[in-house]
């Protein structure tokens, strides 16, 4: 139990090959939360209230991006926590891990044009009811960096229709589609809106000095709201 005045604790997982754990921790701190480091080989979630699975190249992307990371001891705890309603966010490689472990449907495959794409990308926020998007206005357009080689979201037509029908497409590429993702999908959520995955990097858009905008902060503010109101 945490006292009302205590700061929300958000865990950030580090796998071998993770790159963006430091930026994710920094974003959480900027949003007013306490970032807590979680280690891939340790199943202990250290009493956190929410979890970020950050970007990078866990286990060198061997086999498939996210395919080895899903078997890390910490992931078993993440799956259990998510099933209990804990907010979980997967960014880029973290999104790939959440798909591989089955918390989110679909898969991320090689970009349509085969290039590694790194650029600032406009996204449209299509669902503002999830634990990670409540701070945005419906239909808001946000500018955050995207950087990946395997970012093309693919799922069966049936799954895509379900995602659309249930409002689980949270972020959609706006302007141009950087990787050929089906239906321009940039990010999706679990049925209860607590687990969200997206390919672009909100943790790189938290202040004018280092990013194209501070539009990414809303994702972390949203989670802190969800924790406080839980």
């Amino acid at each position: 139990m945490s006292a009302p005045s205590s700061t929300a604790r958000v865990g950030v997982i580090t796998f071998p090959g993770t790159l963006d754990d430091v930026d994710a921790s920094r974003a959480i701190t900027l949003a007013g939360g306490e970032a807590v480091s979680l280690w891939h080989a340790d199943a202990d979630l250290r009493g956190v209230d929410a979890i970020v699975v950050p970007g990078g190249f866990s286990y060198g992307d061997y086999l498939r991006a996210g395919a080895i990371a899903r078997f890390a001891p910490v992931m078993e705890s993440v799956v259990k926590a998510a099933e209990g309603g804990m907010p979980v966010l997967g960014i880029c490689n973290g999104f790939q891990v959440l798909c591989e472990v089955g918390l989110l449907p679909g898969a991320l495959t090689r970009n349509e044009a085969l290039h590694f794409v790194c650029r600032d990308q406009w996204l449209k926020v299509e669902n503002t009811e999830t634990a990670w998007s409540s701070r945005y206005e419906a239909g808001a357009e946000i500018l955050i960096p995207v950087k990946n080689a395997e970012g093309r979201f693919q799922a069966s037509e049936k799954v895509l229709d379900e995602l659309e029908g249930e409002g689980r497409v949270v972020f959609r590429y706006s302007g141009s589609n950087p990787n050929g993702s089906q239906r321009e999908i940039a990010g999706i959520s679990s049925p209860n809106g607590r687990v969200v995955g997206l390919m672009p990097h909100p943790e790189h858009a938290t202040e004018a000095l280092t990013g194209p905008s501070d539009d990414g902060l809303g994702i972390f503010y949203s989670a802190l709201d969800a924790i406080v109101s839980a």
Partner: protein
């Protein structure tokens, strides 16, 4: 001991841009008549005799392939 081959291929409905790039390169090489290329993976496993077919299918389905996007086939070589 037995040698087992697991072939993993992108499902027919999944776009395979790497295969398309290879098909395009064949044209530039001057090869005619190849209308399509699909790129997959081949795994070779050395397994004890105690590993039965059900176990091999589990390995293919839960790790070697992502069944959202890939099909797999297990073949025992002997």
């Amino acid at each position: 001991m037995a040698r087992v081959v697991v072939d993993v291929m992108p499902k027919a409905e999944i776009l395979d841009p790497q295969g398309q790039a290879i098909a395009g390169a064949l044209g530039r090489l001057g090869v005619a008549g190849v209308s399509d290329v699909r790129q997959g993976k081949r795994f070779e496993l050395e397994v004890d005799d105690s590993v039965d077919d059900a176990e091999l299918e589990k390995i293919a389905e839960s790790l070697l392939a992502n069944t959202v996007i890939e099909d797999w086939k297990v073949t025992r070589l002997s």
